[in-house]
Homo-oligomer: 319 residues x 2
Amino acid sequence: MATLNDVAKLANVSKMTVSRVINHPDKVTDDLKQLVYQAMREVDYHPNVAAKALVNNSTRIIKFCVLEDIDTTEPYYMNLMIGIARSLDAQQYSLQLVTRRNFDIGNCDGYVITGMRKKDFDWIGELKKPLVIFGENRFGFDYVDTNNKAGTFMISNLALKRGYERLIFIGMDSRESFEYSREAGYLQLLQENQMVSEIHRFDNHSHLSQQFVIDNWDKFEPNTCFICASDRLALGAERGIESCGGLIPKDYGVTGFDGVFLNQVAFPQITTVKQAIVEMGMACGDKLLDKIVNHIQTSGSLMFEPKISVGGTIRVNVK
Amino acid sequence: MATLNDVAKLANVSKMTVSRVINHPDKVTDDLKQLVYQAMREVDYHPNVAAKALVNNSTRIIKFCVLEDIDTTEPYYMNLMIGIARSLDAQQYSLQLVTRRNFDIGNCDGYVITGMRKKDFDWIGELKKPLVIFGENRFGFDYVDTNNKAGTFMISNLALKRGYERLIFIGMDSRESFEYSREAGYLQLLQENQMVSEIHRFDNHSHLSQQFVIDNWDKFEPNTCFICASDRLALGAERGIESCGGLIPKDYGVTGFDGVFLNQVAFPQITTVKQAIVEMGMACGDKLLDKIVNHIQTSGSLMFEPKISVGGTIRVNVK
DNA sequence: TTAAATAATGTTACCGGTAACATGCACGAT
DNA sequence: ATCGTGCATGTTACCGGTAACATTATTTAA
């Protein structure tokens, strides 16, 4: 690999001038810059990341910390990682995947943390390196997330427009911010339309929502739509309805939330709120690097507007 | 952060002695070793990875390259990554996720490559850094994989033991090594039992196997089991059978392959060949680091024996 | 006209490790 | 007693960058 020195010799200048061309180009004359650029191209110069890291006392490593149980979340986080990695690569940072188990092992320059719960507030606050949280939170940490409230509002509205008269919310049994926001979107729509709300909550497993639908089947009149807080719950609801002989989407509607993988393997595919996960991953990376490079303490949060992904679980036209 | 020098001063020795205690402990007397260890503990010494990387002309970065389209494979690879990351972390290496797009950007010390197809043989052969392929191949690259043949043999045998009289294989329409091996396991069992084989191949999408079952429903007599080369195909077959009114597992059986996620979201859950993916990921990491650290050219391949994950798509007892 | 300010480039030292060589000391053979 | 030998430890230089300071050339102000 060619080094600064190689470039310097070829261009007949000192290492320092080459370094300046890269880092402080305004302090070098245009003539020299051209010379140096030319030499860099000739020897195919790429900076040595380790040397930079050493002199800057940095590691060029970003830890991506997944605090949730990985197996409940796999497909989702893979996309997020791809986004983060894409952003970091561009600036020669590399991504390290950690969990609660091995969080402390080894050094890094910053963190992207996801799956944070209330109880994590304390130790995360103690961290000395910049961080970005993936997932809304009310503790003041910078975060990136989907606009959860807008998502459920939007899809509840769609269900209403398609003629379902009763909207029942099936939420996640966790007192976390994103869940509140999703419920809030549903509630807002119902209030605006003077409808009666009904919310049930379960752990995020399809068999629980499925069982719920089966157990209460006699209470659900045709023309009901289940607004679910996750595709997993929607999948269960869909199965429950089908096993009770309900017709989807004619008599019963189901909507999900996430739009990663599960909505597609369901049959019929779930009409869901699709999050722009790869893009959010890139935003996490960009935001974090910005904080690291420019020594910014707080840079505010970022909400991505979700889109509706059309499947076959709600009617295409008004009944 | 404490450095070698800090430790050295505290222990009243030179940097070099401390370095030797770490890297060549046999060249230092026991007394000094104790002294140095004590000092290291006192200042909480952790080696500076960047400095090591600089002097060894290494990067401490391993690229994990997914050559397949990520969206068809998400849940699978997330687990693999977790395994790889776990292995690398222990030795202070960090993992970089790359795809075809950004493969060349930035330096590294080695590669774990997955989703390799025949056409990739050439350029992978040109790589100058150590590599491990995830997924069997017949080009001589070291690999880690499940024993695919044993897997389909095992599960076909189970179907047979449970009394299904006809076994139909639904494979993937790709002329890759792992597919051949999976078919081979099936074929071997059928030959040993003097049964007639029947193989169909599709792209790895559930709706294709589903459509196939529906289109040919009249040809499938009760007591048939579909041995599928992936959980995705199995999911489709399961749906096809159900939509035609076939009873699972009473009259029809379905088996899958992979045991990651999809088999669990199916209903009933798919009886499948479960791969030990996290462990294989760790093996990839360990193998690669071994090659890097010890300058080994070729270290042979590694086959993991799969296990059967029992779901509800084949009978529990003989009919 | 000349001293002082300013801009462009070069020199040196350092980041935290490690290899290679240098030193000093104990011990056995002569 | 003398010398070589081997072992334990220390010194030096270097990996590839960058900050801080030094030097030189060019302007500007008095």
